[in-house]
């Protein structure tokens, strides 16, 4: 079985480290990108099996835009081959902010939401759901 590849898109290097350590510890290959543009480039280069995405980077909705582009149903989309690539989104959106999403909102192109701070065990559990061991 080839090693599964995970792309981390987050502008916080410490957070990337937090995510990377447990993932690598259980044998996944981890690639990092520190911005959406880098992330988009990386997607095409490394062809990840799963993407972990931070919801808030440049703007409050940039993460969603990234996910929308990637999972776009448009057959001519430049990312069409990644339409099925699962996305785990990290949210720091607090309960009082009007933006409250949950994965069962069908219009959201995200598979799982994880509330920050991320518990390593929970992260691994979610990743395993998509990629297996």
């Amino acid at each position: 079985m080839s090693q599964k590849r995970i792309l981390l898109v987050d502008d916080d290097p410490d957070l990337r480290l937090t995510l990377r350590l447990p993932l690598e510890a259980v044998g996944y290959e981890v690639v990092e990108a520190n911005s959406f543009s880098q992330g988009q480039k990386a997607v095409k280069e490394v062809k990840p099996d799963l993407i972990v995405l931070d919801v808030m980077m440049d703007t409050a909705t940039a993460g969603f835009q990234f996910a929308l582009d990637l999972h776009s149903p448009d057959p001519d989309s430049e990312f069409s081959e990644f339409r099925e690539t699962p996305i785990i989104m990290l949210t720091a959106i607090h309960s009082t902010t009007p933006l409250r999403f949950s994965p069962d909102d069908d219009f959201l192109p995200v598979n799982v939401f994880l509330e920050k701070p991320v518990e390593p065990d929970i992260l691994l559990e979610k990743v395993r759901e998509f990629l297996g061991d």
């Binding site: 937090t18 701070p117 518990e119």
Partner: protein, 659 residues
Amino acid sequence: MVTPSDSKFGGEPPDIRHSGRRGLVEAELVSSVAWLIRLRWIAGVGVIISTWLVGVLFNLQAPEESLYLIGASILVYNLVFFLVERQYKRASIPVSKFGQLALWQVGMDWLAMILLIHFSGGIESPAILFFVFHIINASIFFTQKTAFAFATLAIVLLTGTTVFEYFELLPHRAIVGFLDAPLYQNGLYVLTVLLFFATTCFVTAYLVSTIQERLRQREEEVLILTNNLRRLTVRLQALNQGARTVSSTLELKEVLNRLVTSTAEAMGVHACSIRLLDKSGSQLEPVAVYGLSQEYLDKGPVDPIKNPLAKKVLSGQIINIADALKSPMLQYPDEAKKEGIRSMLSAPLMGKEGPLGILRAYAIEPNRFSSEDAQFLATIAAQGSIAIENAMAYQAIESLDSAKSQFIRIVTHELRSPVSVSRSLLRTISAGYVGDVSPQQVDILNRACNRLAFLQRLIDDLLDLAAVKTAVSIKKSDELVSLDEALQKVVKRFEVPAAEKRISLDLIIKEDQEPITVMASLDEIDRIFNNLISNAVKYTPAGGNVTVKLSKADDQGEVVVEDTGIGIPEDSMQHLFEEFYRAPNAKLLVSEGTGLGLTITKDIITRLGGRLNVQSKQNEGTRFIVMLPLPSGADKSEIPDVTKFNVGKTPDRSPTGFV
């Protein structure tokens, strides 16, 4: 910009000064003519009846045929007058015709009178006295001069008749048996009677017309006063209306627009404007306009120092420009002329700390504004200044508020991220992802994690508090939230922690009770009861009870959260809702806690228009009572469908118990 509709022009009642005095006399004449006709019927009948009485009762011999004829003639010519008058009234004939008709009537009466006197004894006739009535009539109808003329005519007629009879140029017709001896040729008697008659006539004419004149003056004054009062009332109403509409909003733009509109309408003028000083104070900007063209507004900058009119007004004076074509004070006379503005009235808008701007009324007629108008505009300006300042203050608060909440959000996010990342980093070590860790190291890492977790909760609470506090005046919750469902959800959340502590947690909703819905957001309701129930579970020792009861009390939804916990010490009660406050016994039992939960809870409840009461006894328990207003009638109409649906969805509304 607001544009006036045509109907707004000349909103004031007609001015008495235009119709004036003549109108009053004429109106009186018209009604008096009718009154006189009614009286004359009695006079005519009276002559006939008294003639008959003289013959029958007193057995005197009078020239009855002539007297009957006079009586009948009076009735006949009165009939003619009656018909003519009715015709005049129907055809709305000008008042001058009524004057002629009155003259004719008095003339005919005079003729009838002198004939009556002649046929009832001439100078000997007791009917002479009746002339006084006619003179009174004439004095009431006409001016003093005319009254004197009629008095003179009466004297001439009587003197003429007497003289003719005296010299027997006219036959003397006496009532036989009335006097022992004829007096009509008794010179002394005749002269005396004529003298007294003349005096009576003139004095009567003088007295009556003088009194009448005074009455007319009074009436006129009353009429003018009434008109003034009416105008004042209209203005006061407009002012009141204006003040009410102006103060019913805090939007600055709206306040200014309403101010110009109500001013223009109340004063019945062509246009009205408000110019406010800009932030630098170097320019007066038109901020609200009623009835002026854009071209006029674009005429050029108005400098509050260079513009002579603006300078004066801003110093606190009310300036009335009676003729815009001639005033040297205008900075843009040509533009004003082109716009058709002839008079301008300007009043200062004075704030607490200096002038705010100028309220100005414009009229197309010169000399349009009186000193009364000036006072009126000054009153509006004074009231308006307050409204403008309030709106400005509100605007400042609003922008400050949103800036503050924006700031808090950013700061909190900035605080939250490092705490959250630090926690995750520590967790990766303690979970052994970066190599083996000793149990002691794990313990230390966990302690650090717990402290960070507390810090994070504190930040979350602060964020919540900030959100509630900054949202107070701006956002209104407009969702219908079912308390039944919200409580079930929260209670379910605490099933496990309660069970772990062996606390029985019950939700009591009466079976037959209608579901209760309030206007709020789901988050707010959740937050309120999450805090209260979490506290109850937290501060109740093992084996205790926590009861949540939902009921309807009058027009309020009432939720009681009751526990058998540690209770709140008496001296802690007054600090309970203070930020960061925690009662000493609570601290002792649970070391961690931000002391913000109840503050947030109370703030949310207050914002929803509800109340939070607390009753507690140390070591016995605490009861929190939340009262939330039910939506008003208009909203209620939507409820039945929603709630019916909800009932179907959540059939389990019986008490939820745990051991």
